[in-house]
Amino acid sequence: MNTQPVVEARNLSIEYLLNKRWINAISEVSLCIDPLQIHALVGESGSGKTTLALALMRYMAANARVSAGEVLLDGDNLLVKSDDEMRQIWGRQLNLVPQDPLASLNPAYTTGNQIAEITRLHEGLSRADAWIRAVEMLRSVKIADPETVAQRYPHQLSGGMQQRVLIAMALSTQPRLLVLDEPTTALDVTTQAVILDLFRELIRDNQAAAVYVSHDLGTVAQLCDHVTVLYAGEVMESAPVRDLFGQPLHPYTIGLLASLPRPTEGVETRLFTIEGVAPSLGERPVGCVFAPRCPVALQLCFDQKPALENAGDGRTVKCHRWQEIASGALRLDTEPKGESAPAPPRQSYVLRARDIYKRFGESSVFDWLLRREPEYVHAVDDASVRIRERSTLGLVGESGSGKTTLARAIVALDSADSGQIELCGTEISLDLRHRERDTLRNLRMVFQNPNDALNPYQTVGQALERPLRLLSGDSLTRQQRQERIDELLEAVRLPPEYAHRYPSELSGGEKQRVAIARAFAANPALVVADEPTSSLDVSVQAVILNLLKDLRAQRGASYLLISHDLDVVAYLADWIAVMYLGEIIEEGDTEDVYHPPSHPYTEALISAIPVPDPTRSQGDIRLEGDVPSARHIPSGCRFHTRCPRKIGAICEEEAPPWRDAGDGHFIRCHIPIDELIALQSAVLAEKAD
């Protein structure tokens, strides 16, 4: 086998011009991408993983420069090439699959033309030949009807289809190296699973190598051969995937892996967290960059930068103490601790929402003038949920399933069209304007995006004071409010000085903590959390999840947790409801939902989760196609268009019944419970073999 790497970076350092100063972003990184290898670059935001990946293609932002080192493509230094020469290489030998598919496709051209353009440019194909090649490429990325899709414009395709088009485009010139920059971050877990399968297959078939940039350790474990962990612009550890996940040698890697929520851990544990935050550009420590957050740092680590050492078997690690870790002499205590045992859920319900119905599509003036029926989107269709006191209901589903709409209808940000909501035993209005102060106090919300959850023109203190002033029944004095603000900040583990800071001075995780403090300001009974960690890094996510758990235990609140990340839901929720196209199709205890019997849709969702363990493959049930439009809901069982376990015409014609699987576990499916158990246990047994 040819051992020369496809792409190699030698002592590469990159600097950015920020506020008229050159600041080091990548320091002395050496990296080899071997033929046929899928090489993962893993790190948290700001670690320089995207910068490095693009630099491997010699592609850099306008305010960046290479300050030292070289980048070799097949032994040829790219940094000395002219721009004209690079234009020959880009698109032919080096290709990129970017993060945001819609923004990367030209909206003015059909997808076929965009793919054809590349082969016409680089291989001089004629217009007709290039078109034929484009259709072939679309077929190779498993698009069912390539001729039609080639004639479509990007906006007419779903996110998953757009990503496939980009992959087809990137592969059309049989490149030497593909750079995949978080290519599945914008996709649903079911679509992600399909796309990852496709990568695995296509990269091998095309004899290419690939760099996969991601913060998601699950997809890395499932897709990649070799992993390089970056932190603050330096390589911490680089190893074959099984070694890295099996026996990480660097404290940072160990911490990252330990901070992942695993569904098996149950409700009584806390996640391991890495203390502190990553240093910003220009403020990186002199010694080991990770030392300030490292639980086992020595004085040496602060004084002297460790060298990247060879640890055998193709592994390198940059730590003063790696040998102690490798030999087992030094162990990091990463076991989840069980210190925040929650009070057991009560039997009474904090919330009962019955038959919530919500449609979108207001009739416009034109509809009224033309006397036509507006096209309604049936976002939530008679969904009912119940949440016990001191418990957490996890609401899961793909995007478009209506889970966020249901939550927003409950808090009345988008009032439901019909239905009943009972909070703490009393019926409350569906309309926010008619809700009483007590209702508002008891029903609070944490938003998805911490960056716009706080008003940029108000300090943290002001953001926390307002709900206290408005919602606390007893009128507090200024002094008392100040005390409560300090108390709240302490509860979310922020120092009291933070009351005077503006949101722009906080990191994403800190902003989310303030948002959580705001939700808890007036002792709520139920907190609705809409994807509270989806925009945060793994290590920060662990902190927030622990915090949510602690607050539930201390303050006796309940949660309605919405997430597309089933691991997060399983970690926090004791009860789960699964939504598909506006309907709840399964609900039950977390344990029960995760094990057979479950609805075929739930089964597919669980199967698609990328397990952060390369020795265990993810399930192999894949859903074909996309979630149908909520304008034209399929007849019968809504899931029949994609269901891998469809049993026949009955699925298309009749709405399925609720089937009782015991202990409050209900499944809405035509397949009887016994058969579901038999079918699904067989799959699991097969996988175990």
Partner: protein, 299 residues
Amino acid sequence: MSAANSGVGSSGAPRPISKRPGLRNFLRQLVAQPLSLAGSLIFVLFILLAIFGPWIAPYGFDEIIRGAAREAPSAQFPFGTDRLGRDVFSRVLWGAREIIVIPGVATLLSVMLGTVLGLALGYYGGWLDEIVSRILDSLLAIPALVLALVMLGTIGPSSIGIVIVIVLLYMPIVTRVIRSATLNIRSAGYIEAAKLRGESPAYILFREILPGVLPALTVEAALRFSYAIFLTASLGFLGLGVQPPSPDWGRMVAEARANFSRTPWELWSPAGAIAVLVIGVNLMADGLRRIFRYEGQLR
């Protein structure tokens, strides 16, 4: 602290983010841009002239100096004198007040009305928005000078008339700008959080949203002001401004035009004053826009 001082763009490249909203930070950034600093200084200078001009002016605006008609610029008459023997320098100084106050009042009114309307339309949306926006669109469709000529021709030329014309012309534009800025903010988490804790609409509009549209508002106000100055001067030139003998720069230009070959200084001075003021305010507006975009607050 740490990660707060830098953000990461989509290409992985970090971009600078300013630390906190605040006046001092704002002024520092203004000083860092020489052109907009110059513009701002010109603006301040003209404001001072508008206030103190009458005291600085060596002569009255309609004071006829005997035997000094059509004098070229000299130490005694820096800008020369006109055909009646009035000191052009004094007339320009006296005129500064009108050219600042009329557009100033008109701009303030347009901005205030436009802001309230824009906030309300952007926040509430729906039928109200559709109807009012269409009415404003139709106002915008009328050419500025046609509206001015018709209005001032009917009600007669007067300061109030000019103010009304400018408000009718610019209020819809301000409304549109503020409305679209509001639309960007309306769905932000902090607005929804405010709704969920039962804030009144007035609080949400003026305490939560208004600070966020302030950058857009400031830039727009500066821009409108420079256009309003120009429009006022144009109306003066057409004889629809403040009536003689008051020293209106636009009318001074119109009167001087006839005598341009004999007394060119009579034209240069008011025309130059208009140009410098308008360019100054424009540079200032440009600087403001850059500062706010740099801060990433004007999305």
